[in-house]
């Protein structure tokens, strides 16, 4: 009898599902962009009653493939377009820098592009060789496929295969928590995230790169060399409400949201 009650309930619930037939825009992709996009979506919904924007997270590749397949109206991609992706329409919503981080106790003053390159190739294996403490270096690296990794490899002209890391991490926060408290470790994460975490007392320090301090400000000023685009993509020229959302997302109305997520707004 209990079963019957349940089935009836489920059937009712399913029927109820049919009733809410609102226009929903589906946005999927990069987990870096997703929190920002969710906030943008919420503000957009407030301004457009009756419109729903569902933001789903996954990864940049997912954003691209979902947009291509039509599974999503809008894809989120946390890097610049590749040649093979010119079939999509790209819209930049923000910029983000990638900063090298070490433990707060690590006294290394700064690193040059060449030094980083040699550290990750294990040609430099002790911090004392770059002006730091006499400790072996623990390499914290990103997992295959991450946009941060691609940006990093591209800038330092490294091949993923040449790098034999000690620790491989996924998301930014994991990288920060792995480096924090380990004076041997070096890693690289989103600059905004790192700046925020360092500011609230997490035991990390952003290492100046080629003499430029790593900060959201320097990324914003275009001085920081290691930066990436945060994009949204559509498969065709956006129409109607989707076009409005994209317009909204790249407008000044969301700059405070972009900054709240520690990214750099696009001028």
């Amino acid at each position: 009898m209990r079963i019957r009650g349940f089935v009836a309930g489920l059937a009712f619930a399913l029927l109820a599902c049919g009733g809410t037939d609102q226009a929903a825009i589906v946005v999927t992709g990069s987990s870096t962009v997703a929190p920002l996009m969710a906030e943008i979506a919420r503000r957009f919904e407030e301004q457009h009653p009756g419109v729903r924007v569902d933001v789903q997270t996954g990864g940049s590749s997912r954003g691209i493939s979902d947009a291509r397949k039509g599974l999503a109206d809008v894809g989120m991609v946390s890097r610049a377009p590749k040649d093979s992706e010119s079939d999509l329409r790209w819209f930049m919503v923000a910029r983000d820098g990638v900063s090298l981080i070490v433990d707060a106790s690590n006294s290394v003053p700064g690193l040059s592009k060449e030094q980083v390159r040699r550290i990750y190739r294990r040609e430099i294996s002790n911090w004392s060789e770059v002006g730091g403490p006499d400790l072996p270096i623990t390499l914290v690296h990103k997992a295959q496929g991450r946009s941060t990794l691609e940006v990093f490899l591209e800038y330092f002209e490294l091949e993923d295969k040449e790098i034999s890391p000690d620790v491989v991490v996924g998301d930014n926060e994991q990288g920060i928590k792995t480096v924090a408290g380990d004076p041997r470790a070096i890693g690289y994460v989103s600059v905004g995230t790192a700046e925020y975490e360092a500011g609230r007392g997490t035991s990390i320090r952003l290492v100046p790169l080629d003499g430029v301090e790593a900060s959201v400000a320097s990324v914003g000023q275009g001085r920081f060399p290691l930066s990436r685009q945060l994009n949204i993509v559509t498969s065709d020229e956006p129409q109607g409400i989707v076009a409005e959302l994209i317009q909204f997302a790249s407008s000044e109305q969301v700059h405070d949201l972009v900054e709240a997520q520690f990214f750099v707004p696009v001028e």
């Binding site: 997912r62 997992a143 991450r146 034999s164 890391p165 620790v167 491989v168 928590k177 041997r184």
Partner: protein, 293 residues
């Protein structure tokens, strides 16, 4: 054998329900195989064991797909976790059944229940913040097979403990009273009466624990270091098969994505192997004691 004329509806439903349950495996396995097929066809199964390393996304050459290091990591991590959690879980079950007063046992059960419900990300978090630095003091870098084993062990203790306890609880009271009447000590009763009588359930508990350990993803991802290499010691960072999927799936395309499904197939094969091994020495239990013969 039963007369089912009055119960044919029930019978039909039970068979249907059970078949649905079995069909889920077919669906899951079929789907994973389908997705893996592309890679198995294009890359060939041999290269998943023979390639120089795991670099599926490198564009220069067609990518490298060696899964053996991750397979070994999964095996070591699971084995270690089971060796730790098996005794711990069974000890907890024995404690609840034979040692603790009722209210303490009840409390212990709730603690175990809660342990089972702590999301793996919290375990991973805790491992990363507490366990890894402790290990780092001993042998840098810290994230390691050992950290994975410890976290996994904590995570599967509830599975082992709860199932072990329910199988110990199923040992007929009469056996225990009988043994008591013979003046056998508590230890004797536990080891010579209760544990033998409950052994199939205890085995199930450990197997389910092992299955859980093989499949655990998020926590292991956070504490193991994720470096693709056959571990040389327990302090070496490793990447398990599940971590491999979780780390890269969201970012993978084409052959890379398909190769991750091959990882899933390897996991499935492992689980099938585990089940086959246990099936070969597990005895089927029947219902509790019967009065006729």
């Amino acid at each position: 054998m039963f007369q089912w004329s009055k119960d044919h509806l029930l019978l039909l439903w039970l068979r249907l329900a059970a078949s649905v349950c079995a069909a889920i495996l077919l669906l899951v396995a079929g789907f994973v195989l389908l997705e893996a097929f592309e890679a198995l066809r294009d890359i060939g199964p041999v290269r998943f064991a023979a390639d120089a390393s795991w670099h599926p996304a490198s564009e220069a050459d067609q990518g490298l797909y060696n899964l053996v290091p991750m397979l070994s990591a999964t095996l070591f991590a699971t084995l270690g976790a089971v060796l730790l959690a098996g005794p711990l879980g069974i000890a907890s079950a024995l404690f609840c059944q034979f040692y603790a007063p009722a209210w303490v046992a009840q409390l212990q059960r709730r603690i175990i229940g809660l342990l089972s419900g702590i999301p793996s990300v919290v375990y991973g978090f805790w491992g990363l913040v507490v366990l890894v630095p402790l290990i780092r003091l001993q042998a840098p870098p810290g994230p390691s097979l050992l950290a994975g084993i410890l976290i996994l062990a904590i995570m599967i203790v509830p599975t082992v403990a709860l199932i072990a306890e329910s199988s110990l609880a199923a040992v007929p009271e009469a056996y225990l009273l009988g043994a008591n009447a013979l003046g056998i000590s508590r230890v004797g009763i536990i080891f010579r009466v209760a544990i033998p009588a409950a052994r199939s359930g205890l085995l199930t508990a450990v197997i389910l624990g092992a299955g859980r350990a093989i499949g655990e993803t998020m926590a292991i991802l956070m504490v193991c270091g994720n470096v693709v290499a056959v571990p040389e010691s327990v302090f070496a960072p490793v990447r398990t098969l599940t971590a491999n999927i979780a780390l890269e799936m969201a970012y993978a395309m084409g052959d890379h994505r398909s190769a991750l499904f091959v990882t899933g197939v390897v996991l499935l094969v492992m689980v099938v192997g585990l089940v086959a091994v246990t099936a070969s020495f597990a005895t089927e239990t029947t219902h509790a004691e019967s009065t006729h013969g």
